[in-house]
Amino acid sequence: QDLPALAVKDKYKVGFAQTESNNPWRIAQTKSFQDTAATCGWDLVLTDAGGSAAKQVADVDSMIAQGIDVLFLPPREESPLIPAVMRAKAAGIPTFLVDRSVDPNVAQAGRDYVSFLGSDFIDQGGRAADWLIKNFKGDKGVIVELEGTTGSSPANDRKKGFDDAVAADARFSIVASRSGDFARDEGRKVMETLLQAHADVNVVYAHNDEMAIGAIQALEAAGRKPGEDVTVVSIDGTRDALQAIIDGKMGVTVESSPFFGPLACDTMKKYAAGEKIEPWVKVEDRIFTKENAAEHIGEAY
């Protein structure tokens, strides 16, 4: 194994190259790393790529130049961050990918970087679909899908996971699939419009909770009853979504936790101690429904 080793120290200079800070999920993730820095003995070097993969690589470069000990990297995209991973490796810096991975054909866990900590976006979409298939009562499901930012990997993966699973059930048809840019306002606008064109919609699948909430607002404004005549399923597990579930407006949200800090600290310590790290440290995403929403809302962001 030619991965760089990590000495056991009290203090580490740790780089966290965030991709962007324009949504609550990312902000919660950053905060989680900042909080962990205090408890885990990190000097945290934090950068923000503002949504640009190229800038993220440049950010990683500047961290390498500053001589960090460890790199935590949520790669903005699968391919463009490979140079960053490779350069960190060349500089002898162990790298952990967080929440998204890189192209496995080029860079591999255990060889080029230590491990990928995260969940599986495709699986998240699939689980949302599974819940829907199991819990949908009617005999014809007319689905509107609100996609994330066009071209982004979570949007592509969450779409694939859901669409494939739903295709297996003849009751369902997706009548419209449209980007709401992961944002509440945009999700609402798109839903308002689609509702006019497809009055028979009775299922909404949103790639994140913000858009789901926007869709619920649109449904209510149009006089529909989300939760009763329209089933809303989504991904993330935000506080607002859990509240909507408690209020009976939303069916399910598949957790996609942003709280990576503790896991990161833990994994890094194990690695320093010489333990073998799995190439994919899976984050166990829970699923929030009416049954458990109330008990978890306190820990949601």
Binding site: L46, G50, Q66, S153, A155, N156
Partner: protein, 319 residues
């Protein structure tokens, strides 16, 4: 020397040098070869689009499409990367040229306002990039020689991309300073109607600047694909503003008619240095700036540079 720095555009050079000195003194490894070469590599793209933008702005126009055109070019280049640099580079460049020609056609042929014409191209280029790439980033072929362009360096420090960008800068500079075409570019910006009545080939110059800007964006896209291993349909957001800011900080008037190519390069590098400094500052751990504070600081920095420039440029302009 005055010519080299760009007449009366001292402020931007002063600011650039001061920041570099500041960074070198304050941070370890700021002036290391590693940091320098990654800085130059990343900013080669911005130098390119800023120079393209500079010529456009000299005519009094604007090109909002540079960012998405670069993204489109990166997709095209990445898709053709298995055929090697020899195919992918010209292909990406051609994509940029095509977009530039489209802009030129709308602006010079149909007489659409540059703002709207290039806004349309901005949207269309993004749409085409997403379409071509099927909404995904397009991995390059790492086995081909395509990535050498973006990854390799001349000597230890100077990336090929920056070298090429500088060659383009020199070409642009010579065109502006020493050719009839370049002078016509400036004349259009000064007074388009007068330039036409003076019998200058205004249409040719107008077409030239948009095609040139498109070509610069296309080349930047090739650098993007080659240096970052992927065609990225979503990259390039906000590049047009970065380029405009670089041009203006370099002392070029948005109303056209005046401007300096070298000072524009300094302007582009200046913004790169600020990003780099902020990253290093965060690493010192004294204050950990959240991303939000960083944007506040960038704005303040821009304010300072602009006010400095206003102060320094005023007496010069009046004399």
């Amino acid at each position: 020397m005055k010519k080299l720095l760009g007449d009366g555009h001292v402020a931007v050079w002063v600011a650039l040098v001061l920041l570099i000195v500041f960074g070198t003194l304050r941070y370890d490894n700021f002036a290391s070869a590693y940091n320098l070469s990654s800085f130059l590599g990343y900013n080669s793209m911005f130098v390119l689009i800023s120079v393209g933008m500079c010529l456009v702005i000299m005519t009094g126009g604007i090109d909002l499409s540079v960012g998405t055109v670069a993204a489109l070019a990166s997709v095209v280049a990445a898709q053709l990367s298995p055929h090697g640099l020899i195919v992918a580079l010209p292909a990406g460049l051609a994509a940029g040229l095509a977009a530039g020609a489209l802009n030129a056609g709308m602006i010079s042929g149909l007489r659409l306002p540059p703002f709207m014409a290039t806004l349309a191209t901005m949207l269309a280029a993004k749409g085409v990039a997403l379409r071509l790439s099927d909404n995904r980033t397009v991995p390059v072929d790492w086995a081909s020689d395509f990535t050498k362009l973006g990854m390799n360096k001349v000597g230890a420090v100077l990336p090929w991309t920056m070298l090429i960008a500088l060659v383009v800068v020199v070409i642009a500079w010579v065109i502006v300073e020493r050719t009839s075409l370049g002078r016509t570019v400036l004349a259009i910006g000064g007074n388009a109607e007068a330039a036409h009545l003076m019998g200058l080939k205004t249409r040719r110059a107008e077409i030239f600047v948009y095609v040139f800007s498109g070509a610069c964006a296309g080349l930047a896209g090739v650098f993007l694909a080659s240096g970052y291993g992927a065609g990225q349909p979503l990259e390039g957001a906000g590049w047009e503003l970065a380029a405009i800011a670089a041009v203006v900080v370099g002392g070029t008037l948005l109303t056209g008619g005046m401007g300096s190519v070298p000072a524009t390069v300094a302007g582009a590098l200046l913004f790169g240095v600020v990003f780099n400094l902020l990253n290093f500052e965060n690493g010192r751990g004294t204050i950990s700036l959240s991303a939000h504070w960083q944007s506040v600081i960038r704005g303040l920095f821009l304010l300072v540079v602009i006010l400095l420039q206003v102060r320094l440029a005023r007496p010069a302009a009046k004399k």
